[in-house]
Symmetry: C2
Subunit: 151 residues, 2 copies
């Protein structure tokens, strides 16, 4: 299935649709998020956007990321270190955390989702509404210079 390639124009539309004012800062941050597959931190995004658009402040990056998360255009991902990373991919998926490189890799698998759904449908939790179930897959890369493949 062909993946959509997002352009500046798409980012403008996304912002408008969420009734967020279209600003260079927001476009730059959306673009930085979209471009990076590495689940960047606010600091990472700050550095990235300041290459193309010098002057964007760190505070604005935080506020904007907050707005984007609020609007459902991004996801705030907690890490084992206590800080946060951001994810362009808002569809349900899980994350693989690499303990030696701090990488976060998307892990999408329909079968796993099904397995967990089935399990928790059987399991009765009383006095609660299930909101969300996330899997934190912690791994150690064997060869740091190579990527991680999932079969």
């Amino acid at each position: 299935l062909a993946e959509k390639r997002y352009t500046c124009e798409n980012f403008r539309e996304m912002l408008k649709k969420c009734s967020l004012k279209v600003t260079i800062q927001r476009i730059a941050i959306l673009e930085a998020l979209y471009t990076s597959a590495l689940h960047p931190s606010a600091e990472n995004i700050f550095e990235t956007v300041n290459i193309g658009y010098p002057g964007i402040s760190l505070g604005t990056v935080y506020k904007t990321l907050d707005s984007l998360v609020q609007a459902g255009l991004a996801v705030k991902v907690p890490t084992a270190e206590g800080s946060f990373r951001y994810d362009w991919n808002t569809a349900y998926h899980n994350h693989i955390y690499c303990v030696n490189t701090s990488e976060i890799i998307d892990f999408e698998d329909q079968e796993l989702k099904q397995i967990l759904d089935d399990y928790f449908r059987k399991k009765r939790l009383e006095n609660v509404r299930l909101k969300d179930i996330r899997l934190q897959i912690n791994v150690e890369k064997l060869d740091v210079s190579k990527g991680i493949q999932i079969k």
Copy 2:
């Protein structure tokens, strides 16, 4: 199965076995951890121990918790808010996170463990060593004054 009731003497032994010097601070912190089922934060523990043993500093609480985790006597639990909580229970288990009360409830289930083990044995992840798989079960309590039951 009868649950062991730990005493001050047991805490002393545990520390010795881990070649940690036995101090009032460490005993108090172990006891606070053991007594609380609420997965307390460092701050929580600081408050608790200072009732029985006034003068224990927050810095010491942090350092001691670190030592205990290092020694395998406690577990550091990351939360969605980016701060940490501590867990007396060092056996493998998962956590239910309550979004409206910030409670963390232990979720132990052999069947779930088996399901996940089976799934990840089938699934081939290349260039990595699987270290740990944790489930983060996010729920919303319906009646805040009542507990959560698992059937």
